[in-house]
């Protein structure tokens, strides 16, 4: 037997297919097709959790995604622990392990429940008001304690071993919600032949047909019709049917995010299946058929386990075959709860009494309830529930006061009416309208190409809903697809409703007994423990807008997003403010509709796939040599090449000395490279760089500076002129894409008259820098048809020819201050040429050096790195590069910016060199510089250190800095205050090694 509360004659599950599961270590038996909630209820378990703030015992409120209380942890293994799973959504599988949350030491005895007794001190805004002083205690004392005491489940502490998948999809008509209306809309569209996607969050389609026992469509019971209709849709080539799939976000232009739960319901998912699949759907038309959510009654202690929504009790009975009690009470303000009472009574459950707040309602369900012998009370209220871990009574009183009567019950089914589920509509930026007559917010002004049908549109009755949905589905197909397909829309057979149930209205806000002036705990928002009193208090304390009330009380801010609580909260606030509901306004619904795992969103984009990794052609060689790599943008660059026993400091020192003594090989392939080609190439270069280019002879190179229009340095690099109409431009490694974008922008929009082509060639050429006194000796034997003598190929020249039999663009240039070459070869030959150069280099004592040595060597020469020594606020003059600005030029990008008053003012920060008085002390990059270390704090900072290294070649530390009026301070002593003392420094020029530059020319 799968639980004492299972009624074999009721429900649709196959009794034989049992499934074992455990909850808090206790073993139970359920049936395949159960949710964890229905299986627990079948075993008489109502107490499943503790509340967020007061740690009150909580049960199962609903049978669906709106569940605020029954949040549990599902555990497959140590790494697969999922907290905050709604028991009403989790499907049962054999072996499922669940645990309750937010309780200690046990669910039935929770120490935290002291908060419930202390609740007068824990009212709305308590945290804001109580933990104000002392300020310092917030971080050290209050916040950690509050975080520990409050909260829901515990996050898993191991990496997620599951994998997730992601798909894009396009369709003509996307139908969200697979109840009667959604299916009808999908049928109408699908029969026209347009591409349709139908999605529903449940395992089985049917929506409220799961519990509406009286519904009959096309001669079958409603639920069977739904299964048959969806089976027909599934078989159609133009239809994709997605069950267990929640539309969580509705974004711009009918872009909808859905999450499909692929394997959380399986006993052994296996690693072939993803856990979840993210669908990113672009639909021409969207049909919203998201239904309605039942509201609870707001009365004292309405959160006791055993008190639940009437519709949920019907689902548990009519679908799962589970009675939620043996002696149930019903508390309602509308008709639909009667149907629950009738169904339960017919199934053999005693219905102790129906308490109806309405004075003299009439209708077939009321008559039927009476005919079945159920006690029906009008104009009465349940003013409190008895029991603690499980409800054991309800106390009934005439709604205007009078004698109380206590009725023993073991469950209370409640219904205050149904709230149209306008979440997705609201997310689509549609504006809801308040229907004064039905007291409902329904879709008003649409912002996107979508339509709402059925209960979410405020349409009452199965027949009306399906008619509306079928027409809307046909129209969506017509609108989405012109021509033949569209014309066929809606020409199929429309489903015919033979019998249905009708739901009349209900009430909003607190019920009698929980009204103004009362101090009872009548919960509005179960998940965040917000009571009717809290909302009134928020208004009394000055909150006027519903947005403020929401934030002050946290009503509707829990993971259930106020699906059951929003309207009650709004009604109580409106009543307290004395304003009509629409004047107080509904809060905006935001994505996600229900919580979405990070795994589904990031899918495979994690770990090594989080961001592309770029590797140069020479990367494998460096790896084999044991290089340590650093990340430079997306590139992996060899940082240094430690030999046995060397730390970074020793390796970098050795590499720096070797380059200046013999030679070094450096992989410079990551440098950005752009080819500027065309009859107007020189004109274009004149406009994009500060330097003059027209007169640069082919075969020569020039160091170029690129500015933004504001006059600040944007990028730099050596440019070689290969031919009158062809420039090989290099950029900084990190700057390559934005420089290309900057160039394209000007070429396409400001200077479109220039006949120029730009091509990114960064990845086409591998670049091997060979630097040092012996560099020419190393390359000479390998180079064909290029004269590499100093006379034929001086510093800053470029030649095209061959090396090791492959084409090369050979640059004579230097970022080290030594005689140097940069050998560009097609990337495919990069490693082969490197290895040839390396072999040759071994004869001359060459070393491989990494980016750290490259940085030190260039700093020894005072060569700047854009982005390190400049920060977007330095001009060429500030950087000591005035010589690179063409004085006779009449236009280049930045020419006007450079003459702005502030850019030519005295006292600007200028790049200079710094030597610490103690040569062993290496300054910290970013450290601030002051004139007088004895001045009061806050000191006046006049600059900062931009580059700082130990220089083995100089035998001391060296640094570059940007200092106000720096070039007028040569020889001055400045100070760098640090936490452990003030460092004295002397202002020097930027060149620390080979000041005359003689080594460049060999």
């Amino acid at each position: 037997m799968s639980g004492a509360f299972r009624i074999p004659s009721a429900g649709r599950l196959k009794q034989a297919k049992t499934a074992r599961f455990s909850f808090d270590g206790q073993s139970y038996t359920g049936i395949e097709g159960d949710t964890l909630a229905s299986a627990l209820l079948a075993n008489g378990v109502h107490l499943v959790g503790r509340s967020f703030k007061y740690h009150r015992p909580r049960g199962i409120l609903s049978a669906g995604a709106e569940e605020p209380n029954a949040l549990v942890e599902i555990r497959r293994d140590a790494a697969r622990r999922t907290p905050n799973v709604r028991a009403t959504v989790q499907e049962l599988y054999d072996g499922l392990e669940a645990q309750s949350q937010n309780r200690w030491p046990s669910l039935s005895f929770d120490v935290g429940a002291v908060n419930d007794i202390a609740s007068p001190m824990l009212s709305a805004g308590f945290y804001y008001k109580t933990f104000m002083w002392p300020k310092a205690a917030w971080k050290s004392l209050y916040e950690p304690r509050i975080r520990q005491a409050a909260g829901l489940g515990v996050s898993p502490d191991k990496p997620d071993p599951d994998h997730y998948s992601s798909r894009y999809a396009h369709c003509d008509v996307l139908v969200l919600g697979g109840g009667a209306a959604g299916i009808a809309a999908a049928l109408a569209a699908a029969d026209a032949g347009v591409r349709v996607i139908l999605a529903d969050e449940q395992a089985e389609f049917g929506g409220s047909l799961r519990f509406e026992a009286a519904a009959k469509i096309d001669g079958q019971d409603g639920f069977s019709w739904a299964q048959a209709a969806v089976a027909r849709l599934s078989a159609m080539d133009n239809v994709r049917v997605l069950s267990r799939t929640t539309a969580f976000g509705y974004y711009a232009q009918n872009f909808v995010g859905l999450v499909e739960r692929v394997s959380d319901h399986l006993k052994n998912p296996g690693h072939d299946l993803p856990r979840e699949r993210l669908w990113q759907v672009r639909a021409k038309r969207v049909v919203l058929a998201s239904g309605a959510i039942e509201r609870h009654m707001v009365f004292a202690d309405n959160d006791r386990p055993g008190i639940m929504l009437a519709g949920a009790a019907r689902t548990f009975l009519n679908h799962h075959g589970v009675a939620v009690g043996r002696n149930v009470g019903v508390y309602t303000a509308n008709d639909s709860a009667y149907s629950a009472a009738i169904d339960l009574k017919k199934a053999g459950v005693n219905v102790a009494a129906i308490v109806d707040l309405r004075d003299n309602p009439t209708g077939p369900v009321i008559d039927e309830a009476r005919a079945l012998g159920i006690e029906v009370n009008f104009g009465r209220a349940v003013i409190r529930a008895g029991g603690k871990l499980r409800v054991n009574s309800m106390t009934v009183q005439p709604k205007n006061g009078g004698g109380e009567r206590t009725v023993p019950v073991d469950a209370i089914l409640m219904s205050a009416g149904w709230t149209p589920s306008v979440h997705l509509f609201s997310q689509s930026r549609g504006k809801v309208a308040f229907n004064d007559e039905t007291k409902r917010f329904v879709p008003g002004i649409y912002a996107q190409d979508c339509v709402s049908v059925g209960a979410c549109n405020g349409t009452d009755g199965l027949s009306a809903s399906m008619d509306e949905a079928y027409a809307a589905g046909a129209k969506a197909a017509r609108d989405a697809s012109a021509g033949d397909l569209g014309a066929k829309a809606g020409k199929g057979t429309k489903p015919k409703v033979d019998a249905s149930e009708s739901w009349s209205r209900g009430m909003l806000g607190a019920a009698p007994g929980a009204g103004p002036g009362t101090t009872v705990k009548a919960f509005v928002d179960f998940q965040n423990d917000v009571t009717a009193k809290d909302i009134r208090q928020a208004v009394h304390e000055g909150m006027r807008s519903i947005e403020h009330v929401k934030r002050f009380t946290t009503n509707g801010m829990a993971t259930d997003q106020g699906k059951t609580s929003n309207m009650h909260g709004l009604a109580i606030a409106a009543e307290t403010l004395g304003k009509p509901i629409p004047a107080v306004g509904l809060t905006t619904f935001r994505a996600p509709y229900t919580p979405v795992t990070f795994g589904a969103i990031i899918s495979h984009a994690r770990g090594p796939l989080f961001d592309p990794t770029r590797k140069t052609a020479i990367h494998p060689w460096a790896e084999a040599q044991g290089a340590v790599f650093e990340d430079v943008g997306q590139w992996k660059r060899a940082w240094y090449f430690p030999q046995a026993g060397e730390d970074m400091h020793a390796a970098v020192g050795r590499e720096c000395v070797a380059v200046r003594t013999n030679a070094g090989l450096f992989d410079a392939s990551t440098l950005g490279k752009i080819e500027v080609v065309g009859p107007d190439a020189a004109k274009f270069m004149e406009l994009l760089y500060t330097n003059p280019w027209e007169k640069l002879e082919p075969g020569r190179c020039r160091y170029g500076i690129m500015l933004r229009e504001d006059g600040f340095i944007y990028d730099d690099g050596v440019v070689g002129r290969l031919a009158p109409d062809r420039f090989h431009v290099t950029t900084t490694t990190g700057g390559a894409p934005r420089v290309m974008n900057h160039m394209e922008d000007y070429l396409q929009t400001e200077f479109p008259h220039l006949n120029v082509w730009l091509t990114s060639i960064t990845e086409q050429w591998a670049v091997i820098a060979v630097q040092g006194p012996k560099s020419r000796d190393i390359i000479a034997p390998l180079v064909e048809d290029i004269d590499v003598s100093d006379e034929a190929m001086p510093h800053m020249s470029v030649r095209e020819g061959r090396i090791c039999g492959v084409p090369t663009r050979l640059f004579r240039m230097s970022f080290t201050g030594e005689r140097g070459f940069e050998v560009n070869v097609p990337a495919d030959y990069g490693q082969a040429v490197w290895e040839a150069l390396w072999a040759e280099g071994q004869k001359h004592g060459a070393t491989a050096y990494g980016t750290e040595a490259m940085h030190v060597l260039r700093a020894e020469k005072g060569y700047i790195i854009v982005g390190q020594d400049t920060d977007g606020t330095l001009t060429p003059n500030d950087a000591g590069l005035d010589w690179a600005v063409g004085k006779k030029k009449t236009d280049f990008v930045g020419i006007r910016g450079l003459t702005r008053p502030d850019l030519i003012a005295k006292g600007r920060k200028q790049l200079i060199g710094l030597k610490t008085k103690d040569p062993k002390v290496v300054l910290e990059e970013g450290a601030q510089i002051v004139e007088d270390p004895k001045q009061a704090i806050p000191m006046k900072m006049i600059g900062h250190v931009t580059s700082s290294y130990w220089s083995q070649n100089c035998g001391r530390s060296i640094a570059l800095a940007a200092v106000a009026g720096g070039r007028d301070r040569m020889g001055d002593t400045l100070y760098v205050p640090m936490p452990d003392g003030v460092i004295e420094v002397e202002v020097t020029g930027m060149v620390f090694f080979d000041e005359t530059g003689g080594r460049l020319n060999g």
């Binding site: 872009f255 190409d449 396409q748 006007r896 910016g897």
Partner: protein, 103 residues
């Protein structure tokens, strides 16, 4: 994610393929070096930042790589129309933005 129609590709493509490039129809002076401080301020710093219709530049950077102009409503984010770089600012906007973008 927005759909943006590239006037060069003549196709609607997802926003991921595009990059915004600031306000449109701000001409760089042919004699920029001679611009007064006020002129340069207007050209370089002052932007309209409207609530409503904005004329702006976009680039189909992960597509044809062309810069183009777009008219967008900053309240709804909707693209009213797009047109090629260098074309004049439209004097009249279409009544129904959806029709224009879809065609």
């Amino acid at each position: 994610m927005l759909l943006i129609r590239c006037p060069y590709c003549e196709e609607e493509r997802p926003e991921l393929e595009f990059r915004n490039a600031g306000e449109a129809h701000i001409a760089r002076s042919a004699d920029i070096a001679g611009d007064s401080d006020d002129d340069f301020e207007k050209f370089f710093f002052i932007r309209s930042n409207p609530k409503g219709i904005i004329y702006e530049r976009w680039r189909h950077i992960h597509g044809c790589a062309r810069f183009f102009n777009a008219v967008r409503d900053t309240i709804t984010d909707k693209f009213v129309m797009t047109y090629k770089a260098g074309e004049p600012k439209p004097s009249k906007l279409p009544n129904n933005s959806n029709d224009v973008v879809a065609k």
